[in-house]
Symmetry: C2
Subunit: 178 residues, 2 copies
């Protein structure tokens, strides 16, 4: 049975299924993608400056392992459980650091954060948020971004960053609750 593989906000069984062709929805090996993302994070820090300190690394792995979007306070409580500082600024600073390097994305419709699935590559993320199961997929948004820049250019506006977020129904939920 097919499920979005990604960022989910409320608690949901975190059971990976068989791999699929489309990476946006494919269930996959969390251990492997976590290790890969951490390696990418190290590389990004080496390139762009800043250190991947224990709190930052742990923040990133929490998001990677959760494999869904988490609220800042949800991340914070896990950090605290691991002995890292238990005050809000700790997690917000770590998230800021990771965001600035493209290792973590902020999902504004959810007031939540998700680990980037393509760390290191420059890309425009497009978030697809299912209202049925609360899954959040990160899809490639390059085309949408280009279209957005064209629309903005028509008014003389120079786009620097864009939030592209959609709510709707994922393939599984379309079948169940149309």
């Amino acid at each position: 049975m097919l499920r979005y593989n990604m960022s989910i906000r409320p608690a949901m069984p975190d059971a990976p299924g068989p791999a699929l062709a489309d990476p946006a929805f494919a269930a996959h090996d969390h251990t492997r993608c976590t290790a890969a993302a951490l390696a990418a994070a190290e590389a990004v820090c080496a390139r762009e400056g800043g250190r991947l300190t224990p709190v930052r690394r742990r923040t990133l792995t929490i998001l990677l392992e959760a494999h869904r979007a988490l609220g800042a306070y949800e991340v914070l409580s896990r950090l605290a459980a691991d002995g890292f500082g238990g005050q809000p600024p700790v997690v917000y600073r770590a998230l800021d650091f990771l965001q600035a390097r493209g290792l973590v994305h902020r999902i504004r419709r959810l007031n939540a954060f998700a680990a980037c699935l393509r760390p290191g590559e420059a890309h425009q993320a497009l978030f697809l948020i299912c209202r049925g199961c609360a899954a959040v997929a990160e899809a490639p948004g390059g085309g949408v971004r280009a279209s957005l820049e064209a629309a903005a250019a028509a008014t003389g506006f120079a786009v620097e960053r864009a939030s592209l977020e959609a709510t709707g129904l994922c393939p599984a939920c379309r079948g169940e609750a149309p």
Copy 2:
């Protein structure tokens, strides 16, 4: 001198300039567009149900007159100054009502709300937020929406609603602070 005509978050002189060709940036007659938007609001309520009660009407006019994006509590304090209830649920309920009918948009990057510039017409809004002067323009996002739906369809996701928000520099600020 050219300025975005629209939604601004921090206080800023609200001085309309000469009209321009492109409606997205044109400065214009607030009185007229406020009246037009209110008429459209009445029409929408008549069509879709619900009453444009005093609080709701005043909430809408506050956003129309401010002609910029306002935080909910900012709207609330103006409501309170006019003798309407001073508690948060009052303004959130009014905003929910107006949003549901497309008369008000929520701008998630700013945690703020802005009156819709095209009430009554079905449309996808695209918000252009200037980091120089904090102006917020509502541009037509139909093309971007189409592009987004195409990207989503590739993964089987059915889009229902989309947030399209970009930060960058407006024409005026591009010249001043490049």
